[in-house]
């Protein structure tokens, strides 16, 4: 059932041009985040790793990425660096279950927010929402 929901979320996301990317290596977090956004009328697409995000050809860039810092393979910061190198400065909300040095975040130019798990979903929506209202590039 859960796979079905995730798929259906993705389908809508691909059709819409205003969506939020979710990158987390924990499947439960990915799905629950997608559901939470969907229940608030926000379209999403999920990725299990930074590599998967980079590999997929995206017709429309997401308005915002909710990105886990600790991922298997490339970590969240490294994904942000790769995107910046490609000239993509998509706003990023970092999420993590671990403590993270604020210095590391300060070095990361693309970060528009940082939440520690378990975070308040209202806080996450508040960080994401401003990026959804603008026009698509």
């Amino acid at each position: 059932m859960s796979t079905l929901i995730e798929r259906s979320t993705e389908r809508t996301a691909i059709e819409g041009d205003c969506w939020v990317g979710i990158v987390d290596d924990d499947a439960s977090i990915r799905q629950s985040l997608a559901r939470m956004f969907r229940s608030n009328g926000i379209l999403t697409r999920t990725f299990g790793s930074a590599e998967e995000y980079l590999r997929r050809r995206l017709p429309v860039e997401p308005r915002c990425i909710v990105l886990d810092v600790h991922l298997g393979g490339l970590n969240g910061f490294e994904l942000q660096e790769r995107l910046a190198a490609e000239g993509k400065f998509t706003p990023i909300v970092f999420i993590t279950a671990h403590d993270i040095a604020s210095a590391e975040l300060a070095r990361c130019p693309g970060a528009c927010g940082y939440l520690r798990k378990p975070f308040d979903s209202d806080a996450l929506i508040a960080l994401v929402l401003p990026h959804l209202n603008g026009h698509s590039e």
Binding site: S28, I29, Q31, S32, R35, A97, P118
Partner: protein, 398 residues
Amino acid sequence: MRPISVADAPAQRASSPRRSDASPRPQTIVVDESVVLASLSIRVAVLDAGGCVVLVNEAWRSAAAEGSVGENRANIGQNYLDECRRAEARGFESARELCRGVEAVLSRRTRTFRAELASEGNNRWFEVAVDAMTHDAGGAVVSIVDVTERRREERSAETIRRRMAHLGRISIMREIASALAGEIKQPMTAIRLNALAGATLLGAPQTGLDDVWSDTREAWQMFKDIYDDASRASAVIEHVHQHVCSQGGRGGAVDIAETCRVAAALIEHEAAIRGARIEFAFEIGTPAIVGDAIEIQQIVMSLLLNALDAVSASPERVITLGTVAHGTEVELYVRDTGPGLSPKVRQHLFESFFTTKEGSLGMGLIVVRSIVERRRGRISAEEAPEGGALFRVHLPVS
């Protein structure tokens, strides 16, 4: 060490009893200072205003008779201050400090003087206390305790090792709590988000229909309860995590080469047993770093023990411990002649509970990384150009 108020004794004897409102019948006690003094195992001497010894206890007398102890040879009738000055003139370091202290107290510039001083041969240690008499005639009480054993104990490798092991256990506990909290937070976050999404999809129940049974409303309430309970559990985990991981540790300037040598000395015995050799490669003039010496020792010891395990099966067992300065950072490295690190091992090296050794919890490097990161440093592991593993720790200069 408590000062001995021999001088106060006569005054107390005159005004006699111990004042206590609770006790209806005051008792008179006569203080016999010679008995009090004789009962003390610490050495006590009473000096007059000029520094002349007027009264000593048995412990002082026998120590003075032995003559082996530098600072308290003076006996009744002799001048203690002169004795100290003579020792100072011989170039005896501790005597100078003691002289200044005794002079200051006798001249009433200060009421007390306390110091831990080495004996003339530097083979014994004494805790010396000089306290001024309160009455007009002046004078002072000198008391001396031999603290050599305690000091030796404090400085013994065994004690340092024990303290290190204790610190290590605390660090490991902290890391386990942190790792567990991290693992539990993930599913907790998912549970809360799912419950919230479920409740949002069902829509908040309309008000004013409380008495009407509704499956939807019941289901909404269930999601709401799941959300609240998961939030409560998360808060507990967060609280414990914060509590266990809050100790930041002190931060002072640490001489890294010196600290490395101390840590290596603690391991040397173990290394010798295992047929391994530790070589030093400290860059001259490596700047001091920010940190706590014990923590840095812990890092070095962990890396050295790790290297010892790594070289155990190698024909050549050499571990190199070195430092290099890089501008605002100091690099501390440990290189071994072991089999090196396979890419798979390297990938999981700094993960909790990962180990290639039997009987290991896999927390050693986690603790090291945690200390390093708390000090705003970095740690990395790689294959050394000559083969073997190379661990590098970068720490900011103070």
